[in-house]
Subunit: 143 residues, 2 copies
């Protein structure tokens, strides 16, 4: 059995300082870092780290692989559409790539997408069926 | 300010049933699903979902995009090297693609990588500097 959990999300990036600047402009503060090598942020329940894209390919045992983005995405849920709009606008203001402006979506919520400077995709969403915990973490409602 | 948090990790996949079978063989149980459309698993602090790769590209507002994998990875940390070996062996046994067998690594831990049937990359690791909480979540030590 493999536990149903994740302890670290790693984003491979071309330039650690650029990533720190982008996420810093969103309001994020690094928790730990090894200068020029890796930066970690504490998030709910786990860590999110930035690591050189080439170093990540090498770490995966395939130094010549061209690693891709977009097929795995991260979402931030908010409680109101206005918060979604604000998060999307701020990201674009500080250098995100616009993918889809927030709009009402088929499943009954409100959602937009942007990519960070390395193409890592973030969704910003409001889901009326999912209640956020006071600390911002998410517990799925029972089926 | 955008909160330093993630509420949902989404993996775009070619075949939801194949994904359910693979993660089910690892020991995972779906928390919610809409048959043939999306499957969600509760993990520590957030949800992890599987969604069709084409549907994900469309949802991102770029239906013709060829979404990639490997540049964003997920890690499971364990407390012993033996647990890392067991998790890696089980994954391969149930259809994972071997990337790097677990080995001692430069930062002082023990780590291996495999890819799921869609190429989504998982690291299995033991990090002597990071203590896991009793519930399996991770709080980074202060700098």
């Amino acid at each position: 059995m493999t536990p149903q959990r994740v302890t670290l999300i790693t984003l491979g990036v071309a330039d650690l300082e650029r990533s720190k600047a982008f996420y810093g402009a969103l309001g994020w503060t690094p928790t730990r870092e090894v200068a020029g090598e890796v930066v970690f942020y504490q998030i709910n329940g786990m860590a999110l780290g930035f690591f050189g894209l080439d170093a990540l390919a090498k770490d995966q045992g395939r130094p010549d692989a061209k690693l891709g983005t977009g097929g795995m995405t991260l979402a931030q849920n908010f409680t109101t559409d206005a918060e979604v709009d604000a998060a999307y606008a701020l990201a674009l203001e500080v250098g995100a790539i616009a993918l889809k402006a927030p709009e009402k979506v088929f499943w009954g919520g409100y959602s937009g997408y942007y990519a960070d400077p390395d193409g890592h995709v973030w969704e910003v969403a409001q889901n009326p069926f999912w209640e956020l915990s006071a600390d911002g973490s998410l517990t799925l409602p029972a089926s």
